[in-house]
């Protein structure tokens, strides 16, 4: 009887365990797993990054975020009529059929169908009609002119026949991208197959950053990208068995203000705060030097970025002077509430800012809330100041959503209730202008105006980091943190695993 019980016990160890992927699989550790593999529905960054691998899209972005042809080139027939020509050879879906204009048309039609409940629909509400002139030509007709229109066409294209059959793309993706969906063995794992050489790539979700680090050190995963606390990045980058890359990124961190607040609603107070924060020191000591100072929403290498903007240098005497000018003299000093999430790193940053503001006489209390409550408060305008980051910004239409006086929630994401007539005018003027150079000039003026009026105190653009075992090679980082580097990742041959190639710093 005892033997039977022992047998049952040991059998139960193996019961239910999921099957391992083949040894040759390259594994990538993720903090958050992709949740939705239907590009029409996905909004989270991991899903968007994986969907880029599974589906091809009409348009992509160059390093400076200008739209460039991906599946198609385009011509502007008039300000409300864009014609796209699919580039030959066209990619194929897994069943071997070639992607056609019909697939493009049906993808965007289904996205515009309210029944699909696509979160991207509002981006395309300007489309009045889509038609196909031939198997490789698609026409988009707009309600109003929009020079940025091609930049929006980055949604993955689905096969028209499966759209018609209501295929569940969110769990069984079928695309014409460089990777094929292979398997999802359990909720934490997703396996893709590279089309050109059948190399398997597995995404493994490990929530805890310490455990992710240990998995990398144990060789259970081969690559980690971002989402690690700076101290773990530093620790791993000093490990000789780990290859480290970092590259300038576009994730923009900032401090936002409530412009309806009697204290931070004053430009002088906001300027005092900007001069009181020693951003260089924070970057050096808290971020391990892996960030660059920001003066605007877009980095200087973006096509609307401005390199010559003069930001707010660390200058405590000037901050004190500005506070005095704002009426905070003698015993009267500003007391502020700074809201942030419960993320340990964000909390640490908050305490540093608190200490630095204290030096110029601003008393700051930190209110830390779980993400939902924090974000809900920000959207509802229940804050004085807060810290957040914009991730993956590409198109300058964000200026209207974030800073126009008519974009106050729920109409947009102007959470600070910022209103400025000149800003509104510049946004409208840029939207009316069709020439890229003219647009660039107006957007640059707009960013100078934003820096002057400070709806946000720009902090920094965080670098992207990749840490990999020396068993793999060929991975390159992208500025927006996408996984396109997986197209070229491969196993290192034994001769290339040498200590001298361990450090690959690309900054």
């Amino acid at each position: 009887m005892t033997i039977i019980w022992f047998f049952i016990f040991f059998i139960s160890f193996a019961w239910g365990c999921t099957e391992s992927a083949p040894e040759s699989t390259i594994r990538i550790g993720l903090a958050v797993a992709p949740t939705n593999l239907d590009p029409r529905l996905a909004t989270d960054a991991p899903s968007a990054r994986v969907n880029r691998l599974l589906y091809s899209r009409l348009v992509d972005f160059a390093e400076d975020a200008t739209p460039i042809p991906a599946l198609a080139t385009w011509e502007i027939l008039n300000s409300t009529h864009y014609r796209f020509h699919l580039i030959e050879p066209r990619p194929t879906f897994p069943d071997g059929t070639q992607l056609t204009a019909q697939d493009v048309q049906e993808t965007y039609r289904s996205l515009l169908d309210p029944k699909t409940a696509s979160p991207h629909r509002s981006l395309f509400h300007n489309i009045s009609r889509i038609s196909t002139a031939s198997e490789s030509t698609i026409d988009f007709f707009l309600l109003h002119p929009d020079p940025l229109f091609p930049s929006y066409l980055v949604i993955g294209i689905l096969p028209a026949n499966l759209i018609a059959m209501n295929h569940p793309f969110h769990v069984d993706p079928v695309g014409s991208g460089p990777f094929l969906f292979q398997q999802r063995p359990d909720a934490t794992r997703l396996i893709l197959k590279r089309r050109n050489d059948a190399q398997l790539i597995e995404f493994v979700k490990v929530l805890n950053p310490t455990v992710r680090t240990l998995k990398l050190l144990a060789g259970e995963i081969h690559l980690l990208q971002n989402d690690l606390p700076p101290e773990l990045v530093t620790y791993l980058s000093e490990n000789p068995s780990i290859s480290f890359q970092h590259k300038e990124g576009s994730k923009f961190s900032y401090i936002g203000f409530n412009h309806q607040d009697p204290v931070v609603g004053q430009n002088l107070v906001r300027k005092a705060i900007a001069h009181a924060i020693n951003r260089e020191q924070i970057i050096q000591f808290a971020l391990g030097g892996r960030a660059r100072l920001a003066q605007a929403l877009f980095p200087p290498n973006h096509w609307v970025g401005v390199s010559q903007l003069e930001g707010y240098s660390y200058d405590p005497p000037r901050a004190r002077k500005l506070l005095r000018q704002a009426g905070f003299t003698g015993e009267r000093s500003p007391t502020l509430i700074y809201k942030t999430s419960t993320d340990p790193f964000r909390l640490r940053l908050a305490t540093i800012v608190q200490e630095q503001l204290q030096q110029v006489g601003i008393h700051m209390t930190i209110h830390s809330h779980d993400w939902g409550t924090f974000y809900g408060d920000i959207k509802a305008g229940h804050f004085q100041m807060y810290s957040l980051a914009w991730v993956g910004l590409k198109t300058p239409d964000i200026f209207r959503h974030a800073f126009h006086s008519q974009s106050i929630p729920p109409l947009g994401v102007n959470r600070g209730r910022y209103t400025d007539t000149l800003t509104d005018d510049l946004i409208a003027e840029a939207e009316r202008t069709s020439g890229a150079n003219q647009q660039q000039r107006i957007y640059q003026s707009l960013q100078a105006r934003l820096l002057e009026t400070l709806p946000y105190v720009p902090l920094w653009y965080e670098d992207n980091v990749a840490l990999s075992t020396t068993a793999i090679q060929g991975y390159t980082l992208k500025p927006d943190g996408n996984f396109d580097g997986l197209l070229h990742i491969q196993w290192a041959t034994s001769s290339t695993i040498q200590p001298q190639i361990v450090r690959q710093t690309d900054s």
């Binding site: 160890f13 934490t188 455990v211």
Partner: protein, 309 residues
Amino acid sequence: MPHFILTRIISALVGLLGVVSLVFFLIHMIPGDPIDVMLGESALAADREALRQGLGLHLPLYEQWWNYLTALAKADFGHSLFSGRPIVDLLLERIPATLHLSIIALVIAIIIALPLGLLAATRQHSMYDYGSMGFALFGMSIPNFWMGPLLILVGALWLGWFPVSGREGWNAVILPALTLGTAMAAILARMIRSSLLEILGEDFLRTARAKGLSSLQAIFIHALPNALLPVLTLLGLQLGGLLGGAVITETVFAWPGLGLLMIEAIQQRDYPVVQAAVLCISMTYIFVNLLTDLLYAWLDPRIDWQGPS
């Protein structure tokens, strides 16, 4: 007996209804709008309204509650706001993993706790007693979020015997089960010891020895079965907790169970999933407690099956 079982089942169902209602209303009190989650902040007002109507969120709260209850009666938990998958599928995908981990953890806990508790009780005030209870104190004091990485460091990184995390391979369950099992074993060992110490002083044991049974026989045949009755209640509660998803352990070990599902859903504000996961956990607690009550009543002849007359 049927009256006893019926009473217990009815009280369990009432408890369940209370939990379902509480979870429903609490979730609706939390700031945030599911429409924002699904459509984003830049969605058009018309789209927002259409989706709100489609999901029935425009209805008065009591009507939504009633609709939720009637849907639950048909085992329809709705769909995840993020993945779009039916929540029943998500739960069914995660429950086996949690069940797997819980059973192994429970077995490990019993394997550790029983000999320790026995040793401590039969050798009271000896080094064995102090050692066992020291271990119990150690096990209870170490939080799982620390114990987990420690076991990973030793078992996976230094010794290389087990995978760091995940659910691949037969040995993947050992480290998370040990993490859960040791904490549970510590509490169980203390309970077994105190319960056994109480029994060892009873007259019936002296009688058993007087009738010629050896000390070991007296302990195993007479003392232990009686001492385990209060332990059973504790075990039931612990098992309920485990089956409800060991949130921290599942997070540390990336174990794809109910606990991890709930954490993910909370982080993403996937309200229907949070609601369903909490409900599932509550149901498990209620069910395990019901089972424990019935088992307890069956094992202990002093409990009146008829209830108060």
